[in-house]
């Protein structure tokens, strides 16, 4: 089996089942669920790190809003690409790059699922994959 590496290993695992899940966090003191994961302290109630636990957030949600970026000055980032705000079924609202370069066919309220997109290879020859979101097929949502 070819080895894969996650572009952002703190946020998701390259070997996550389909659709890939996200690494979130949860506060045992107040129940607040958050993304990205952190172990500094709870933003909602102030509970210290020992009350925070990792939680897996399913890669499913609803499209809240989206924007196609036409111009980007940073090196290695090729425009256009489309960013979406997705309300995860498991709670948090997140921003993700979408698989479609443009917003054609997207509507607020669309069901979305995560998927891994190959991003080339790292220096150890592993395929680097990035978690993105796409519109769910009608039987996937």
């Amino acid at each position: 089996m070819p080895e894969r590496a996650a572009a952002q290993p703190s946020l998701y695992s390259a070997e996550s089942a389909d659709p890939p899940a996200l690494n979130g966090g949860r506060c045992r003191a107040c129940g607040y669920v958050f993304f990205p994961p952190q172990s500094y302290g709870c933003e909602s109630c102030g509970a210290p790190p020992q009350h925070l636990e990792p939680v897996t957030l399913a890669g499913r949600g609803t499209l809240h809003s989206f924007a196609t970026v036409h111009l980007h000055q940073a090196k290695g980032i090729e425009a256009p690409f489309t960013v979406g705000v997705i309300l995860l079924d498991d709670g948090p609202a997140i921003r993700s790059i979408l698989t479609s370069r443009t917003d054609e066919g997207l509507r607020a309220g669309d069901r979305m699922i995560s998927t891994m997109v190959p991003q080339g290879r790292d220096d150890q020859g592993r395929e680097v994959v990035e978690l993105r979101f796409q519109k769910a097929a009608s039987d996937q949502g």
Partner: protein, 382 residues
């Protein structure tokens, strides 16, 4: 027991000055800042030697900005400090100057904002917290996402949002301190280039260099120095808040502004109806609509229609961004919040010339900054 600004001794803006906002040039930050401060001193008709404390709002110039600039007015030995609060750096410097005078610690204080575009280390990037989009979401895309949501929820078109840029550039065309001094048509705004989502270039503020200064004084200083009372504008509220955890999918920028402005209205004893002029954080067109609604100037979802109706024009219900706002006057970061105070003071004095909003008596300045912070001041001319 805590007290609000209006419970302390009165504090007034008595001098304002600016260096035009412009594209990055060879002008040093020292020259930019001194131009604004000298103009403010001349406006107040007082010498530098009377200023007892100075705050410099700056985010990009670097460590220790104040004295290397202000010593050229005469090294009088007064306390000086830099205030960095992202886009609200100048607003926060002004707040510190007001609090120092209102508390009685000094009688006459300066707030000066100065900046030049430069690479800057951003602390949020050092938290080791990552998100899925990384460097691919910059402020214009954050606001493009809010614009998309706004259009979806309120059945508003991209053209209606772009009307904000038409109004603010029309105002900026009459402001000699503005970076963009050219009226534009809706077609010109829409023609692009497209930047992100519905936002085109003219719907994004220019970030250049500049400076702005405001001198605040107590009644004692006004009497002692023979400052013209008719041109003194009282600061009746100074409120700043930071973002809380809001319900998911809510718009935290608007929530934070709504909370901060509500507290400022309470402290000043006014309501949205009482405002004659507003300078707000219109770094992107969509922000003006979101904030007008959060400020209670119109019902939720009615911001675009308020702009279309002319109610936010000079001469309308309330002149919004009469200076041209961040969209036309520009957003050089440190100066921006102090420049808002200068515009409101000019308007309330009745000295705004062709930009004058008739019978302006109460004005509000509003800035937000990355982090997220919000700073609001309410000024009144009695």
């Amino acid at each position: 027991m805590t007290r609000t600004l209006i419970d302390l001794r009165p504090v007034y803006v008595v001098g304002i000055g600016l260096h035009r906002y412009q594209r990055l040039s060879d002008t040093t930050y020292v020259e930019l800042g001194l131009t604004a401060v000298r103009e403010a001193l001349a406006d107040a008709r007082i010498p530098w030697s009377e200023v007892q404390s100075a705050y410099t709002g700056t985010a990009l110039v670097g460590m220790a900005a104040s004295r290397p600039m202000l010593r050229h007015l005469g090294a009088t030995g007064i306390p000086m400090a830099q205030v960095e609060n992202a886009s609200a750096s100048g607003s926060t410097a002004f707040r510190q100057a007001c609090l120092e005078v209102a508390s009685g610690i000094c009688d006459l204080a300066l707030a000066v904002g100065v900046d030049k575009p430069a690479p800057v280390a951003m602390a949020p990037g050092k938290t080791n917290l990552r998100d899925l989009t990384g460097a691919r979401v910059v402020p214009f895309t954050h606001f493009a996402l809010l614009a998309n949501d706004y259009m979806n929820r309120n059945h508003v078109t991209a053209e209606q949002i772009a009307m904000v840029a038409v109004k603010n550039n029309r105002n900026g065309a009459n402001n000699p301190y503005a970076q963009r001094q050219k009226a534009v048509t809706l077609d010109e705004v829409m023609a692009g280039p497209a930047i992100s989502g519905a936002l085109t270039r003219l719907q994004c503020c220019p970030v250049g260099e500049g400076a702005a200064a405001a001198i605040v004084a107590s009644d004692d200083a006004i009497a002692r120095l023979g400052i013209d009372r008719n041109r003194a504008v009282r600061v009746i509220a100074s409120v700043t808040r930071t973002e809380r955890v809001y319900r998911e999918a809510k718009n935290f920028d608007a929530e934070l502004t709504g909370e901060t402005v509500a507290q400022a209205y309470r402290e000043a004893g006014i309501s949205a109806r009482d405002l004659d002029v507003i300078e707000l954080h219109d770094a992107f067109t969509i922000e003006e609509l979101l904030y007008l609604e959060a400020m209670g100037l119109c019902a939720p979802g009615e911001g675009a229609r308020m702009i279309e109706s002319g109610a936010a024009d000079i001469g309308g219900q309330c002149a919004v961004s009469a200076s041209g706002g961040l969209l036309a006057m520009g957003h050089p970061i440190g100066p921006t919040g102090v420049g808002q105070i200068a515009e409101i003071t000019r308007q309330l004095r009745g000295e705004a010339g062709v930009r004058q909003h008739p019978n302006a008596r109460i004005g509000m300045a509003h800035m937000v900054g990355v982090g997220a912070v919000c700073v609001v001041h309410i000024l009144r001319h009695d």
